[in-house]
Assembly symmetry: C2
Homo-oligomer: 129 residues x 2
């Protein structure tokens, strides 16, 4: 018998602070993780093009986001043998599954923006500054 | 003609940094937003019970998260007329819709944890420290 936990029988629980699923949830739903994954559903991106697509992200934050997503097996980074060398990012099959789910969330949210704006106005009206 | 943008005809775009949907996406997918919304699918929670459920969140961060979710119309905060007064949090219909979508994401992610762990191990093996 091994003292190592058996991954097949362990139940992942995002509510448990030490669980891998919690850390991965944070990276796919982090400020930039969602936008990078949803953008990559549109096809392969080079770094600078992706940075333009994800309006407002800094070079450093995008690099860090992509690195985490690559490590988690969501994003594939390919160095193309061109001169000069180009680096292209695509979704892995796992990343595509997660990105589809995130896209559904984004679509739902975008369709509900008028309700959100209304709620914000009502909230602020009740609490005059 | 009004100079105010017409909410019905404006298209929400999470990729645009100034869009309300971007800010709301950040709050529902923030580090604690996802977990609070998914927890509240289980039913009404009082603050301290919710804090125990969302393992690892500080009092300050949970209060801030709930306040943003309340302002966005996702969470309803009710002060119960008990002695001492109790405060209970529930999902609004809008919050329930978003939370269902987040729950689907969490379920997908939890089921893929073995793949994530494998990807992380392969990534780390390629890059010895």
């Amino acid at each position: 018998m091994s003292a190592e936990p058996d991954l097949e029988t362990l139940v992942a629980d995002v509510f448990a602070r030490g669980c891998t699923s919690r850390r991965t949830l944070e990276s796919i739903t982090g400020k930039w993780g969602v936008l990078a994954l949803v953008a990559l559903r549109e096809g392969a991106y080079r770094f600078n093009a992706l940075r333009r697509r994800v309006d407002g992200v800094s070079e450093k934050m995008l690099a860090q986001t992509l690195q985490t997503l690559e490590r988690d097996g969501m994003v594939h980074r390919e160095v193309l043998a061109t001169i000069p060398a180009r680096v292209e990012y695509t979704l892995t099959p796992l990343g595509a599954e997660i990105a589809d789910q995130l896209f559904a969330l984004v679509e739902l949210l975008e369709s509900r923006v008028p309700q959100v704006v209304e709620a914000q106005a009502a909230y602020d009206a009740d609490r005059p500054r």
